[in-house]
Symmetry: C2
Subunit: 168 residues, 2 copies
């Protein structure tokens, strides 16, 4: 544990890794996913594939690709590959709309609905375990805070990163 000042100059002004909000969020989310992944793996589903299936249970007509991207927090390129994969596996259908051929509607097949019926309860059971762990009170406390964080808009803040207050 040497103390070379020249090497640690920048480090001194930096927050410790542990207290970094991005790292704390990452760490918490990884703990959540470690809980879900084994169960999803037994159904040959990745976390993202399950997000897509789950989002589609809210409608019978299906969702457009754009809506699906928004609901699942997946970017276009990822979603394109995932949908193609799940269509190949017979779990989803993909049909382009008639009044606007640019858009495509994605929906569950009967097989897809049966997958959801099989995975859904197991997913909820794990979620219940998590809620029990932190307590529903603390859960109700943390969700609004996370929602607030999600609303942080970098554009507003990053317009003058240099001096921190070149407000023009």
């Amino acid at each position: 544990m040497t103390r070379d000042p020249s090497a640690s100059t920048a480090a001194h002004s930096m927050r410790s890794f542990d207290q970094s909000l991005p790292m704390a969020l990452l760490s918490a989310r990884e703990a959540m996913m470690r809980a879900f992944r084994p169960m999803l793996g037994r159904h040959d589903l990745t976390e993202q594939q399950w997000r897509v299936l789950r989002a589609l249970t809210t409608t019978t007509d299906g969702l457009e690709v754009g809506e699906l991207a928004e609901n699942t927090l997946l970017l276009g390129p990822s979603l394109s590959r995932i949908v193609a994969n799940l269509v190949d596996r017979g779990v989803l259908t993909r049909t382009s709309r008639e009044h606007d051929q640019r858009r495509a509607l994605v929906a569950l097949t009967p097989k897809g609905r049966s997958v959801v019926a099989a995975v859904g309860p197991a997913s909820e059971a794990i979620y219940d375990q998590i809620e029990t762990h932190i307590g529903s009170g603390r859960l109700a406390e943390v969700l609004p805070l996370l929602s607030d964080l999600a609303g942080f808009d970098a554009d507003l803040a990053s317009t003058h990163v240099g001096e921190l207050d070149a407000s023009h």
Copy 2:
């Protein structure tokens, strides 16, 4: 918005997507990274590469690959590729230890330290913007909650999931 009961049976018992803790964590973290990525991109660094560089500022001797993985929350395979990449770029050195040839020590080069000196302040400035956005009070409130979530151990919880767990 049809209401086919057979299709939405499973959905009824599922939490809404928005209230899902994993999704909330993902959403919050994405907002954070949207703030950092453009700045890191200007220095030709990904978020993960920056995590590695930053972790190495805490020592002059460097860290073993395993320690680095733990500090940065990166898995072995990712870290192997990232270190190889950064060694090629002259930012890191990688030397195997003498008393145990399996282990390798990773350290910043002078060039690496100058990169950290350039990026560190900008990174801190963005973090300050975020802290201002939520307020340091709410930040101090959320960090312990996240830390608690990170401590969730799936193994303990899944030992008694009920009839979903065929533990015999």
